[in-house]
Symmetry: C2
Subunit: 151 residues, 2 copies
Amino acid sequence: MTAVKSKRLAGGETFETADRLHSAAIHLLRRLRVRDRESGVGPAQLSALSVLVLGGGPRSLGELAEAEQVRPPTMSRIVAGLVRAGLVRRGKTEDGRRVRLAATAKGTRILQEGRLRRVESLAQALSALSKEDREKLRELIDHLETVIRNL
Amino acid sequence: MTAVKSKRLAGGETFETADRLHSAAIHLLRRLRVRDRESGVGPAQLSALSVLVLGGGPRSLGELAEAEQVRPPTMSRIVAGLVRAGLVRRGKTEDGRRVRLAATAKGTRILQEGRLRRVESLAQALSALSKEDREKLRELIDHLETVIRNL
DNA sequence: CAATTTAGTTAGCATAGCTAACTATATTCT
DNA sequence: AGAATATAGTTAGCTATGCTAACTAAATTG
């Protein structure tokens, strides 16, 4: 893709890097999306499930909605689907308004399998990078994650 | 299969890097998506429009569907929305079955503005990286693009 | 020129995003 | 304590996006 030329902000080079990073992220996910369909679970459900499985334990619906940057009614329906599919269990909390959402054993298994499929092909493609580039990427990822959180 | 497997086993670190890269891409786009809502155009429409605007000229519907990794009926409806909004124009080709889809001036403007909004916030966030990290990222992007194309 | 192939559309289903309006529980204020 | 308010989720209803199956129209093939 063509890079937008702009010297007004953050330096033209950084702007171009941002443009290409954005484009790379789009293409990356577009390719990997295909693998996710095999799980039979929709992308939003899969992503919410990953928060419960990989994000360190149970959450309330509101916390899940915030983690997924989605409105409560949207998350309410996503969770309903996950519960219907037996991948998530609802529990009570001290606060009678809140629900406690936890992945079931089946939910954990399905997520891990899907994650494996998805990441497998990416890891394979990454292995085509030089040893130095892989090292660079490994070092960068931490910092990129911070950058993204501050977006 | 054996070669594949041994590659993966040999690259446990690469597997983890792939996992984090995947996750970073998801979160990156999720944040940037918020900016896209300002345009009043849906994400699939915006992405299809970007192929027409940045991808070097008009395409047929089938080509667009393939570029977006989507089935023809899906793209048919996305295009219908873009045409209704005045962002894309349908034209004829020598082959009476094919349509020629081209961005209108309005479509080009809307896309460029949205892209600017999106990429500007990312560029700003990236400027928080150290000079060295930005340099590393710049060097890596080329190679990452190749990796992704080979996914 | 009939049969087949190719390009796109239409119809119908599911998921996912939103806002508005509702219920139920907790908290705050008088 | 009891009323008013705030908070957590759900329900209803809209739009957009994904799919497959079945259709129409045009081009190609035999």
